[in-house]
Symmetry: C2
């Protein structure tokens, strides 16, 4: 097995050293594939193996990795995704973010399983990958340009409209710590500041065009699951009809919708900004990632000023509707859609952008930021124009924007005077749009997720309870553990074990790479992987691989100075919201700490969350321990 | 799910209180089935739930449980088995032993999933179970009789030759601490002294006849695996051709064959007692358990004195060829076969019998037992006649036999003068026929197995190395952990994790109940269970269930006073054998202790091997904690 590469893999890595202007191809073998899969697993391996402790995330040593997995590019809903990762300029730990679109499937078809970028170009460049080759081209003329113009120019220069482009706008160039990498104009690898890392390397874009079929062993297994999905597309009805954010009004009623920087509870205006209303008003269509029948991606258009929206920038996802909507107290849908467009054009993560602005709004309302500091802006909750202006300022790091471009945690540190009470983050990454006071397991997820608070890794029972959906559907093994919908308050040992299981499924999805939204059970995913690769594998092996990858992420974070103290929620969550459904609900510090320590134990880490040496040996990753 | 019973289960338990002469039927529900499966899981649940700490294993409070599982009685090789369990009079902890034959499949067809026997009959009785009913009948006329006569008499009384009988001979009646329960004349539920428990209840036999088809949901899945087995019967070639013990000469060469109470190494006479020689000499046929195409059960016949053997008592398995052969220094095959017949007639576990006698032989050779104490017998290694005579004495507890009937550990304690150095046991149960000095993981298995040293629960890499068999065949998930054949010396964290995985598969087999020998992979077993029950289940869930059951066994042992100190190997293994292939090989105390503690950690137990309260809660078994 050691030498042959299984189905699903090209077995080739593309490495680009921008300092040396050098392009190399490297092999991976079957043993490597089975141990780390791809995606997140590949990324953390690369960082542990190739970088020195304490590296500057915005320095040339950092690796920016675009990693596919064995499922990327299959003709199957959910398999269009890939993962982008690096040491995060936002958290200082490991970062990874997935994106859909067509970019990943094109890279697979161009003959590669991953792209590793290191060094720093002397001046702006872009990469052009096709037919197993890569060229480094000048991008000086693209620097400073928005994503749309960037993509159009590259396609026109290369005379091919079907080229797929991963790129940054001005925010990435300016190293905004939460800049994202855009894939096309509305698919972001959003979190962790991957756009800033790309900008720090003077890399404007990576254009890809593939021309060969992806390597698959058992196409019957793929067809089988594709047929199953087709027959069960009803399970994705809300996604197909509304995209993300269908149940926003229900979320608001439950207390799951963050309002005014997680300070308030109710948001009666939710109906003005919900995905349902969006469908009835500004939406003009639905788009999709490669090969996905769900078609969950909104396209919106607003022709009338002041909040015009160009449909080529897509439309706001749920996280965006929350972060740039209710979290900022804003109920103007067109303004939110406009903000979404700005973020996509500048390459800004909408969650961190919205939550950083929300934090600044609360600082302003509490007198910690003055109107003068804000360049005359009245940055109050609900002021949509101020919010939009702030996005501009952040992207170009102008005035107060330069401070906010550091993210809410660093900004609060600079502001002082207790501003940190309003900085809603874990590991300096802004908290996404689900309420931990409503679901303790979600809170635990925010705490221990290696990438900081994240919307993709922790959504354990919110959905089961709010949709009344049986967990058996996606988590068959959870049944005997005893998960029942609406056990939101439970964070005892059984719940922690269930959380670990769901986290395991998520990290496997991020390593295969597969969309978290698709309703495949863990068993189905295992069978699919067996079919594609020819491995006789099982959920048990995948749980083990997830433990390996999560422990590697932990190793990296520990190496970079993160500790147990960074696995903490903001103090705000230990008091109730001002009003709304959670007005008498708050988390308990001791209870959450207890759950955290039980999670450490289940992971084979010590009381401080440091992986035990024996555990590293057991998982076969002791050789990745830093010698420095 | 809570109320409906899945396929594979009747949902009915038969409870017989011999003190009250009362027969009851009780229901189990689907949730119970999925949580504990059956077999070992059922037994330990019953003991934890129904008995008080410190109960006398030979008192009326002890439960003698015959537990089937969802696979028992399927038309599929390996599914004829059931598990017999109780608090062990030998170890003082939990005991369980599996048996094949037709008895279990008949109980399933009689409408039950388990039989719980409690109390004590006023005089000898036997049970007669058929058509969903059970009768308690007088057995005074059977008391003192050998198994063959017992079975014949019952069949004739009930006028049905196809009745299957579980029973004891004189050894069980006399509460020899290692008496077994015989099923027919050559299938023993051998270990832990279940025959003594049966004897203590004045229960001579349980006769069963079933007449309905077993409840199965997905018979297609069963057929699928049955077909696979048929097509892959080559994998069982050695079993079909020789029965157990095919590779005995290879074992001897490797050092795996115990010689003279584990004192010596080489046994050049191995060829005189091997299963291969047996085939060429005294074997007259092969028999099988219900529905099994492997047919691994030997039938032998010896007509000439002094060692006549009646073929109805079957023939010696590998463990018997070792324990009553090389371990006693005996190389006379007919004598071993005769000893086997005696054990089956008396209902004695051949392993404990052989090893207790071997221990006495070494005591005698070292002057710790005199010829006078031995009633004139010259109990030297190699003296077959003395060995045979000793079996008689043990069964009826006559003379020195009364002492040895207590097992080697208790006998050594009585003898004193350092006799414990020759008592080869873990938790007072005699060590079976594989050498821990050869395989450290095997040694760990003997140490931590809840039932004491056992031949069924620990045979990790002996086979891979001696057969050159790829572990991928039966343990697919082991591949990424990195098991390679012949890594016998490794007992690092990865090996401990692999050991735990294999132990998990074994305990699941013992709970389903399924023969450990059949070459089904863990994944195949999971799929089979899904097919039979209709559950969407996976190896991951089964690992979890195995953790639950093993932790329950541990809870029971801790409750009954066993501790970390009982998870130890005899000191002999920390020195090399006198001669042979292991003459320069010995285990290291510290290394084995380290491995043991890592195993505890993987199980979620504390440093003393006591399950953590959070772990009990996580596994949903905290309600089984004793209040006393």
């Amino acid at each position: 097995m050691a030498d042959s590469v299984p189905g699903g893999y090209n077995g080739e890595i593309l490495r680009v050293d921008l300092s040396k202007e050098r392009v190399d191809r490297e092999k991976i073998d079957g043993e490597f594939c089975r141990k780390y899969l791809g995606g997140t697993g590949f990324i953390v391996y690369c960082l542990l193996k190739e970088t020195r402790p304490g590296l500057d995330p915005l320095g040339p040593e950092n690796r920016l990795v675009f990693a596919l997995g064995p499922l990327t590019g299959l003709s199957l809903g959910g398999s269009a995704r890939h993962t982008v990762g690096a040491k995060s300029p936002l958290t200082g730990g490991i970062a990874k973010a997935e994106a859909g679109e067509y970019w990943g499937s094109q890279l697979k078809r161009a003959g590669f399983d991953a792209l590793i970028i290191q060094g720093k170009a002397k001046r702006p460049v872009y990469l052009w990958i096709h037919r197993g080759e890569a060229e480094i081209s000048d991008a000086s003329h693209l620097w400073g340009k928005a994503t749309k113009e960037t993509q159009e120019t590259i396609r026109s220069e290369l005379a091919d409209d079907r080229i797929r482009v991963a790129m940054i706008g001005p925010a990435g160039e300016n190293r905004v710590r939460f800049a994202c990498v855009m894939h096309g104009l509305f698919d972001a690898a959003g979190r962790g500041g991957m756009g800033a890392v790309m900008g720090s390397k003077n890399l404007k874009a990576v254009a890809v065009r593939g021309d060969r079929l992806p390597p698959v062993a058992g196409s019957d297994g793929v067809k089988l699951l594709a047929t199953w999905l087709k027959e069960n597309l009803d399970l994705m009805k809300s996604f197909s009809e509304f995209g993300t954010g269908g149940p926003m009004p229900r979320f608001e009623k439950l207390g799951n919708l963050p309002v005014r920087n997680f300070r308030d509870g109710g948001f009666p205006a939710v109906d003005k900004i919900s995905a349902e209303t969006l469908k009835q008003t500004i939406r003009i269509g639905m788009d999709s990632c490669f090969a996905c029948p769900v078609r969950c991606k909104k396209t919106v258009e607003v022709k009338d000023p002041p909040y015009q929206v160009d449909p080529s920038y897509g439309g706001p996802e749920y996280e965006t509707l929350g972060a740039l909507g209710s979290a900022c107290g804003i109920d103007n849908l067109a303004a939110i859609a406009r903000a979404n467009q700005l973020c996509n054009a500048y390459s800004l993560d909408t969650i961190s952008t919205g939550m950083t602005i929300a934090s600044a709004m609360e600082c302003y309302e509490n007198g910690l930021l003055t109107q003068e500091q804000l360049g005359g802006l009245e940055l109050k909750f609900g002021n949509a124009d101020a919010m939009l202006k702030m996005i501009d300022l952040i992207a170009v790091r102008e005035g107060i924007g330069d401070l906010l471009a550091e993210g809410c945690a660093r900004a609060a540190e600079s502001i002082g005077k207790g501003a940190d009470a309003f900085a809603m983050h874990v590991k300096k990454q802004e908290i996404p749009m689900h309420e931990p006071r409503l679901s303790k397991a979600l809170g635990l997820g925010y705490m221990v997720n290696p990438h900081g608070a994240d919307h993709m890794d922790s959504m354990i029972d919110i959905f089961y309870s709010s949709f009344g959906q049986q967990p058996v559907l996606t988590i068959p093994d959870a049944v005997p553990i005893g998960l029942e919908p609406a056990h939101l308050d439970d964070i005892g040992p059984r719940k922690v074990a269930l959380f670990k299981l769901i986290q395991s499924k998520r990290i496997i999805c991020d390593s295969l790479v597969l969309c978290d939204f698709l309703p495949y059970s863990y068993t189905q995913i295992s069978s699919l992987l067996s079919a594609v690769t020819g491995w006789e594998t099982s959920v048990a092996e995948h749980i083990r691989i997830s433990e390996r990858i999560l422990t590697m992420c932990r190793m990296f974070n520990v190496r970079e100075g993160l500790s147990e103290a960074d696995d903490r929620l903001p103090s705000r969550f230990f008091s109730p919201t001002r009003n709304g459904p959670l007005a008498d609900k708050a988390l308990d510090v001791e209870e959450m700490e207890k759950a955290k320590h039980y999670y450490y134990r289940l992971m084979g880490w010590d009381d401080k969350g440091v992986p035990l040496p024996e555990r590293l040996e057991e998982l076969g990753i002791d050789h990745l321990t830093s010698k420095a």
